[in-house]
Amino acid sequence: MNAPRFPNVTRRSLLLGTGALVVSFSLKDHAFAQEGELNVPAKPPEPVATGPKLPGSLADTPSLDAWIRIDADSSVTVYTGKAELGQGTKTSLRQIAAEELEVPPASINLITADTAITPDEGFTAGSQTVQNSGTAIRNAAAQVREILIQQASSKLQVPADQLKAQNGRIVGPDGKSIGYGEVVMTDMLHVDAQPKSKLKSPDAYEYIGKPFARVDIPAKVTGGPAYVQDMRLPGMLHARVVRPPSWFATLKDIDTASIKAMPGVVAVIRDGNFLAVAAEKEFQAVQAMRALTDLAEWEETPRLPNEQDLPAVLQKSESEQGVVAEAGGDFTGGITTFSAQFMRPYQMHASIGPSCSVAHLDNGTMTVWTHTQGVYPDRKAIAQMLGMPLDKVRCIHTEGSGCYGHNGADDAAGDAALIARALPGRPVKVQWMRDQEHLWEPYGPAMLTKVSASLDVSGKIVNWKYDLWSNTHSARPGSAGALLPGQLMASGFPPDKPVMNITPLGNGDRNAIPLYSIPNMRVLWHFVADMPVRVSSLRGLGAYANVFSIESFMDQLAKEAGADPVEFRLKHMEDPRARKVIATAVEAFNWSSDPMPEGRGRGFAFAKYKNHAAYLALAMEIDVDKETGKIRIPRIVSAVDCGEAVAPDNIRNQTEGGIIQSLSWTMYEEVNFDNTRIMSSDWSTYPILRFSAVPGTLDVHIVDNPGSPYLGVAEAAQGPTSAALANALANATGKRLYNLPFSPARVKATLGV
C-alpha cells in the first residue's frame, strides 16, 4: 500500500484534535467510503468533482429519484441500498423519510438492497445505515418536499412560502390543497440533490425520536414469510453442499451413480472440490448429502497452527508494520512504567439460522436471493465466478437469520448460483447445515495486543505504547476468490491478497487509539497477511479486542495510581460528550468505590466507537463463584450518545443485544482446532450464552442530542462490555484475566482455587 488513502486526514492530525474529530470522506471510491474495511487496490483516491460534498450516500448517488418515487396515486416509495439485518432498518428509515415527506411512516413502501432497482450503498455494515443511508434519505426527502411545494405553488396560484406539506398533500392558507400525486410529473425528481436541504427542526418532529413499533415484528411472530429460508418458488429444488472435512483438503475421484439413484435426487454437482446435491424434496437432499459425505474421500493437509501457541504464531507471522498513531515522542518520562499483554481467540458469528440462498437461472439471467450485506459486491463476485456479464446477474437482499458481519451469506449465494447454473429453469434453494456454518464461515481474527504506559507523580499518564498483531478484518466479496465456491471450484479463484489499510474508520486497528489525552503516544499495527484460518469482519472488527485491552489497562493504571477507575478516566478525558455519557452511566449505576462483599465486584468501561461514532459507557456488578469459576451478573447499566436518537427503542434493543452478545464472546467463545481440522462444529463444541447466564437487570440510558448528526450505534457495546467484565472480575477477586474468553475453567485456574 503505497498511496495514502486520506491525503488530508492523518491519524496524527486526528489525535491532535482529540474530542473534535471531523473526518471528511470526499472519496469517490464509495464502497470504501461506506465501510473502510475493504481491501482496496492501491490506487490514489479520486477526489469528488468540485463543489461541496452531498450529505450521506447522496455523495455517491445524487439523483433524487434514485431514493424517492412518488406515483400519480400519491403513493411514496423509498429506496435504500442498505439491508434489514434485524437491526430495524426498515423501520428507522421509514421514520426518517416520513418526517421530511410529511406522510405516515406506515404508508411508505420501502425497497431495500436490490441490484436491479436500489442505489449502490456498498455494504450494510459498520453501524452506518442511519448515518449514511438515513442521512441521504432525509435530505432527499426534504428536497423532494420542497420541489412538490414549488410545483403546487404554480398549480394553486399560491406563493410557495404560504404552502406546507401535510399528510401527503400540499396545503395553502385558505385550506386549498392538492395531493402529491397530482403535482408529480415525469422526471420531476430526476435531478441531482443540492448540498443543503431545508430540514425540519427537532421541535417539529412527529416521527424521529418517537416510539415506533418495528414493522417487521408482527409477521415474524405470526409465521409470515420473513426470511430467504421461507421462500418457496414454483418448481424449486432443494440443494445441499458437501464441504471438505478441513481446509486445503482435495477431493479424490468419486463415482456418484449411487447418489444419483437415490429417491428424488435430480443432480450431483462436482466442480473441483465443490460438491453438491439437488433433490425434489428437502429431506431427500439431506439424505443424499449424508450419503455423499460418506462416499467422498479427501486428501487432507495439516496446516493449522497450534492453538495453544497463538500469541507466538501471530508475532512470528508479522508481514508488515503500520503506524496507526504517533504523537509527542518522549517515552522516557514518568516515574513508573507498567505493561500488559492481551489475547483474543478466533470467534465466530454463529448465527442461529445457517446461511441460505435461492438462485434461479432463467433465460440467461441469474437471479439470486441472498442475505448478504452487500448485493452489489456479491453480484460482482458471482458474475466473475460464473463468467457471466454483470447485467445478467441480479442480487436481491432477502432477510436471513441475524447478521453480525461477513458470515456465510455470500458463500451460500455463490453455492446457489453455481448449482442453479447446472439446472437452468429451476429455482434452487441451498440451506447450509449447522456444522457447515460453524466450520466454514469466516471468523473474527485472533488478536494479540501489548500495551505499556508510564504515570507521573500526579498519577497522570505521560506516555503510551500500544502494539497489536492481527490479520485484516475484511475479506469480503467483490471478487470471486472471496467466495467459498469460487475457491473450491476447479478453476479455483484465489482469495484476494490481504492488504493493511490504516484509515480513520479502522480495521484491525479500529479503536486502537485511546480517546484519552496522553501527550506521548505510539500505536502500531503488526500486520499479519496470512494465517491458515479464514477470517473476515465480525461486529466491531478490531474494536472488541482493542477496547478490551485499553479499558482493562486503564483500570490497572488507575489501581497503580491509587485512583477510582472512573475518576482516573475523567482525569484524562476532555471530550464533553464522553464525560457526559460516563457521568450518566455512573450516576444511574450509583457507582462508588465502597468495599463489596466477598466474591462480588464492580467494573466500568467506556469507548467512543471508531473514535467517531457512538459514545458508550457501561458499569456492571458481578459475583464470582471461586469453586466453579462461574460468573453471575446481577446488574448492568449503560449510557449511550449516538447523536440524534431516531428510534430510541431500537437503539436500546441494539445496545442490549450488543452487550449480551459481547458477554457471550467474553465468557465462552473460542474456536478450537487441531493441526488439521476446526473442532468447533456445533453448539456443544462452541457454546454461547444461554438464558441461565443473562444479567439480572440491564438498563440502557440514551443521552439524546436532537438536531445533531447520527452516530452509528449498533456495534458500540462490543468493546466496553468485555472490559467492564474484566474489570469487575479483577475488582471481585484481585486477579485480572488477560486472555479471552473468561471460561469457568480459566477463571478457576487464574484464581488458583
Binding site: P218, K220, T222, A350, I660
Partner: protein, 164 residues
Amino acid sequence: MKLNVNGSTHEVDADPATPLLYVLRNDLELNAAKFGCGLGQCGACTVMVDGKAIFSCLTPILLLEGREIKTVEGLGTIDSPGPMQQAFIEEQAAQCGYCIPGMMMRAQALLQSKPDASDAEIQTTLEPNLCRCGTHMRILKAVKRARELMKTAAMAPASGERKV
C-alpha cells in the same frame, strides 16, 4: 399419513422418517418453525406436541400420527394475534427474529400447563433455546407479559367480556 396440525388434519405424502420440521415448512408451507441446527441444541425448531415442547428437527413424523401438533401459526394471526404473539409485539422482543417462534412455543407449553409459572421457572424453561442477537432480556419480559395476557384471555369468556 395423516398429521393433525393446528387443529386441522393434513394428508402428508412423505417418507415416515422425515423430521416434522421439513414437513411443516415444505409440505404444509408453515414458516414459523425454523431450521437452526438439526441437532436439538438450539430450539429454533420448537413446536408443541400434545401440549409439550419438542424439537421438530429431531422428531420423525412416524411418531406423530394422531397427536396434536401446534405451531406459532396456531397461536393467532397477524390481524388477530394470540396473547403470546401480542406480548412479543408489545415488548418489541425481536431483533432478527429467527429464534423467536421457538421461544414462543416453549413458553406457550410452559404457561399452558402452568399459568402461574414463576419468573425463575420461565428463565429455566427457556434454557434449551438459543438467541444470538442478545434479545434475551426482552424475550423474558415478553413471556412474563404473555403470562398475564393469557390469564386475561382465559378469564374473558367467563366474565362475558372479550379482549379487543
